[in-house]
Structure formats: C-alpha cells, structure tokens
C-alpha cells in the first residue's frame, strides 16, 4: 500500500490565497499612502520657493490686471487643497510640467536621462553583490580573526567615504596618471550617437547593434564610476551578509551537517547561504535605491548624463518643475523597490506567509 502525500484541504489553500491577497492589498495601500505623502512634500516644496511663478510668466513690469489674470490662469487663487488636488490629477496623467531648460515636458526629459542612471546603478550593484556577498561570508566564517577585522574596517571606510571626492581621486589616479580607464562621460565623442537607442542603456544598445567598438568604449567609461558606487554598496551588503550568516552558522542544522561529515565550504555555501537569500534580497533592493541616490553626486563628477546630473543642473537654473519631477521619480523608484523587496520576501520565504 502506497501512501500518497496528503493534499491540503481546499479551505486551507483558499485561505492562504486570501491571506496573500490581504497582505498584498495592505502593502499597496501603504505604498499609495507613502506616494501621497511624497506628492504632498513635493507640492509644499513647490509652494515655498521664493520665486513667484506669476512674475516668472508675466515679468515684473506687468499691470496688476495682467498679474491677476495670470494668477487665476495658473490656479493660484484657489484654496490650497484644491491646488493640491489639481496638482495630483496632473501628476497621475503624467504631466510634470515643462522644463525651462529644455522647453520640453519634464516626463519626456526624465525618460531620456533615466536609463543612463539605471545602467550605472545596475553595473554598480552587480559589482557590489559579486564582491560583497563572498566577503561577508568570509568575514562570518572567520569571526573575530583578522579577515573579519579587515573586512569590518573596509566596510567602515566605505561608509565614511565622500563619494564625490573618491570619484575625483579615482579620475586623478586611474585616468590621468595610470590611463587605465576613460575619462568623464558615457563614451568618447566620436562614438556618440553611433548606435540607435533602443533601451537607452548604451551597453545593451551597442550589443544589440553588434557594435563592439562602442561597447568596449562604453565599458571603459562606466567601469570607474560603477566601481566607486559599487564599493559603497559593497560595504553595506558585506556587513549585512556577515550578520545574517552568523545567525545561520550558530544553528543546529549546521552542526548536524558538519557532524555528518560535509566539508566546511559545502555547509557554508550550499546549506547556510540559501537560507540568508531572503533577507539579502531586501538588502540588495535597498542598496539599489541608495545607489540611485549616490548617482547624483557621482554623475556630477563623471559628467554622466543621467538623472542626478539632470536634477543638479535644473537646480542651478531654478527649474523647479524639473527638480521636483526628478525628486518624485527617485522617490517613486524607492517606494517601488520597497514593494518589490517585500513581495520577494513574501514569495521566497514560506515562513513569512
């Protein structure tokens, strides 16, 4: 007589599905609330700026009548909550206003510059994970010995590093003195606009077009800024990996596996590591968000035509539509990453259900 694994009764399965739905709804409503808070903040920032938007349109010699007319056209005579409502409706239609600098819709500008930042942050996070996780594991398995102390120190140095300064020193050493990498910008001038933009990410576009010349040139440009950003995320990822790993290594199943005669490396990499994947996903998602932020300063140093440089150059032209649009995009990506990491947590880890 064979025993078939007992199927869970239908009721249990349904309640599990509904629990997931319930969790999902709660998550979405929290995020919607956070997004609403974000828009309130950007709206308020837009209101407290010392520049009078009416004067920006009519000039300071306009008659009081003209001033009043434009004020009404801009909706500035309405009560504040109504102004906010109009702002929100416009936002949800993707209308972030017109950027003064480019005279184009802010959303269009952001779509154009965002892939460059995404490319930089993605290469950086790949570097951060590829080096950070093994280093963190190494620190955990050598707890209290010199590799652990060294890695802790390397991490603290990463936390303390002014990223713009590291970028400048990197340029000075690796570009100017050693000439190992290319300088600021995404590609050399004569490679610019050679490949058709498809994704907006040069590394992918050049491969799609089969143009290896552009690809390797782009690699030589991205490697330094990405390595610098990657180092910052490495510090965080390695530290968290270490503490998660320590939590696992002290558990009894590890001892059991060792007693059964498995090698140390097999126990660490095949038994313990899968168990820390879930919290690690959250950490990687969070540091991805921080990288987008770190990109603001790095892009300024490396003349990288991404979101950060767009925001900073808009700042100096008092182009508040562009600044607030950019802030909103970064904030939304942050919120989205939170959502993704939470969902991943829920889907990968059965205990979270």
């Amino acid at each position: 007589m064979t025993t078939t694994p007992a199927k869970p009764p239908a009721g249990v399965r349904r309640s599990r599905a509904s629990a997931f739905a319930w969790h999902f709804i709660r998550l979405i409503s929290t995020l919607a609330l956070t997004f609403l808070g974000l828009t309130i903040v950007t709206f308020c920032i837009g209101r407290v700026i010392p520049i009078d938007p009416v004067i920006a349109v009519v000039g300071d010699r306009a008659s009081p009548e003209a001033y009043e007319r434009v004020r009404m056209e801009l909706g500035l005579d309405l009560p504040l909550y109504q102004q906010y409502w109009n702002y929100l409706i416009k936002l949800l239609h993707g209308d972030l206003g017109i950027a003064v600098l480019t005279a184009r819709p802010v959303l269009e500008d952001l779509m154009r510059v965002f892939p460059a930042t995404l490319e930089l942050a993605t290469v950086a996070i790949i570097m951060g994970v590829c080096f950070g996780v093994p280093i963190g594991v190494l620190a955990a398995t050598n707890q209290g010995r010199w590799p652990d102390h060294l890695i802790r120190l390397v991490g603290l140095v990463g936390y303390s590093m002014p990223v713009f300064w590291l970028g400048l020193v990197g340029l000075l050493v690796f570009y100017n003195t050693l000439d190992w990498v290319s300088g600021p910008g995404r590609v050399d001038v004569y490679y610019e606009d050679v490949v058709q933009p498809v994704t907006g990410m040069l590394l992918i576009d050049s491969l799609l077009a089969g143009d290896t010349g552009v690809f390797w040139n782009a690699v030589s440009h991205i490697i330094l800024p990405a390595a610098i950003l990657g180092y910052l995320s490495l510090a965080y990822i390695a530290r968290m990996t270490r503490s998660f790993m320590l939590g696992q290594l002290h558990q009894e199943y590890i001892l059991t596996a060792q007693v059964k005669g498995l090698s140390r490396s097999r126990v660490v990499w095949r038994h313990a590591l899968p168990n820390i994947m879930v919290p690690l996903i959250t950490v990687v998602a969070l540091s991805y968000g921080y990288l987008l932020e770190g990109a603001v300063l790095t892009e300024t140093v490396f003349a990288w035509p991404g979101l950060g440089r767009y925001i900073t150059s808009a700042l100096f032209n008092a182009d508040m539509n562009a600044v607030l649009g950019g802030t909103l995009i970064v904030g939304t990506v942050f919120i989205g990453l939170n959502l993704l990491s939470d969902l991943a947590y829920y889907l990968v880890d059965p205990r979270a259900r």
């Binding site: 990223v163 400048l168 100017n176 900073t312 802030t327």
Partner: protein, 305 residues
C-alpha cells in the same frame, strides 16, 4: 569588620564598587564601566581621538595658525605643500591648512545643529507614539514611515533648492530627512518601558503623562538614541559636504570642506592638493565618527556582536 575598609582606597575601587553608596557613585560607576569596555577596542579609541582632535581644532583654531582663512595672496596662488604652507595654497592664494582648521568649525556646527533639531523631534514623536498607542501611534508612525521612504540626499537637495543655498538651510534640509529613524527607535524603547512596574507606580502616584514621558521614559531612551546619532554623524557630515560640493550648502568664501573640494576640482590634474586635501579631511572625520559609533554600539548593545 576591620577587614572591610569603610572608605575605598582609590578612585578605581570607588568606581567599581559592587554596592554603590549613592546615586552619584552608581552613575559614575556605570560610566566608568562603559569607558573601560570602550577602551578595550582600539578602533573605537582611535575614533574618539579623531573626534577630540576635531573639537580641539574648532575651539583653538586662532591659536593653531597665524593666518586667516579668508586672506588672499594672489602672488602665492596654487603653491604646492611646503614648510610655509603645509597643505599648499588654493586658487586665490589662501592657505589650505588654515582653511581646513577653520572648516572644522563649520562641520561641527552642522553636526551640532542637526542633532539639536533631530533629537527632540525624534524623541517627542517616538515616545508619544509609543506611550499612548492607538490611533495617535498609527498616525505618527505613518508620517514617520512616509519620511523614512524618501531618498535622503535627493530630498535634502530639493529642500535646499527650495529654501535657497546656505549652510542654515542645508541644516534644515538634512534635519527634515534625518529625524524618522530616531522616532522609530524611541517608540520601540517606549513600548518596552511603558508596561514596567516603575511606570505604573509613577502613574498611580498621580504623575501626568508629560511627567512620565519627560522624566522617566525619555532619559532611558537617550543611550540608544545617542549611539544611533553617533553612527549617523558620518552620514550627516557626508550629506552636508555633498550639498556644499554641489553648491547648495555653504557659500564662498566659507572654508567648508565640500565647497573647497568643489572649487579645487578645476585644478585637479595639475594641482592635486587643492581638491584632495579637504576631501581627505571629510573622510577622516566621518571615519572617526563611524569608528566611535561602532565601538559605542558594541558597548551599549551587546546583541549586535
């Protein structure tokens, strides 16, 4: 009886006494124990040393150098480091060593002001939310979560842009984005404290909520909040320097370090010292705060080990 002396023979014995005779002795004894624990960690001690040197630099700036951070000597522009100008001179012939010394005042001012704004806000919001609970807790924590979900530097950038460039506005912008973790922390501490017997006893004696929060709960939240603040100092310094570098923090001719890096950028390839030395100062100071905070956390929160 004669074997146990009535008065301890040394400071050390008085401080490590098993049974303190007074509140004062107990308090000093606890501090002393923490100090001994911190002293065992050489990294934390070097961090403390860096922070102390920073303080001394800020306080004794006029005695440490005979030059002024603003005096321009256009005949001595962009001089390399020498016996006369230890760190060289910048594009306007100002002595970089002097400007670094005076710049420590700005760094400390920013750190001090941000702490003075962030600590009370975080403590008040957190303890109120944790103590009263219910809908007040829900609302306050929702607001905290919203602020916590924002990217810090970009938010500070937007605020600094709205308020206008300047060191005071940079402080406000950083504070607005920095307070939520403290509220979270204070709330968590309050939740573990509020059901304790001594709080119930105080309440039964008729102490008002304000009194309980102010004189019973807040002092107990302080240690963990201060440790967290020390760890955050580096982040605050880095954001302030980043704002300065972007031109949204301190304005010229202020000897703010981030601003100095930014103005030295144009001379980076030929006169490396103009940009790199102020950046090194930023790094060393935030490294010092990180080392100190790391050591303090080990002392106050052994769970993190």
């Amino acid at each position: 009886m004669s074997e146990t002396p009535l008065r301890p023979t040394s400071w050390h014995e008085w401080l490590v006494a098993e049974a303190p005779q007074s509140r004062l002795q107990a308090r000093f004894g606890r501090w002393y124990a923490n100090w001994l624990a911190l002293k065992r960690n050489p990294l934390a001690v070097s961090g403390l040393l860096i922070v102390v040197v920073l303080f001394l630099m800020a306080v004794f700036a006029p005695w440490m150098t005979d030059k002024s951070p603003y005096d321009q000597m256009l005949t001595e522009r962009l001089q390399p480091p020498s016996a006369q100008h230890w760190f060289g001179t910048d594009e306007l012939g100002r002595d970089i060593f002097t400007r670094i010394i005076y710049g420590s005042r700005i760094t400390l001012l920013v750190v001090f002001l941000v702490s003075a704004i962030v600590l009370p806000i975080g403590l008040i919001v957190g303890t109120i939310a944790g103590y009263f609970g219910g809908w007040l807790d829900t609302i306050l924590m929702r607001v905290t979560d919203i602020f916590l979900a924002f990217p810090r530097l970009v938010m500070a950038l937007a605020f600094a842009a709205a308020l206008g460039p300047g060191i005071e506005n940079a402080v406000v912008a950083i504070s607005i984005t920095a307070w939520p973790p403290y509220a979270r922390l204070a709330r968590a501490e309050t939740m573990t404290l509020r059901g304790r017997d001594f709080i119930l006893a105080a309440r039964m004696q008729g102490a008002s909520a304000t009194r309980i929060l102010w004189s019973h709960i807040m002092p107990l939240c302080l240690p963990s909040v201060i440790v967290r603040l020390t760890l955050d100092m580096a982040g605050i310094i880095l954001i302030a320097a980043g704002l300065g570098f972007l031109g949204l923090g301190a304005q010229p001719p202020s000897p703010e370090w981030g601003l100095m890096v930014s103005s030295g950028r144009s001379y980076l390839l030929d006169q490396w010292w103009v940009a790199t030395i102020p950046g090194l100062a930023i790094f060393i100071v935030s490294f010092g705060f990180n080392l100190l905070g790391d050591g303090l956390r080990d002392v106050f929160d052994p769970r993190s080990q």
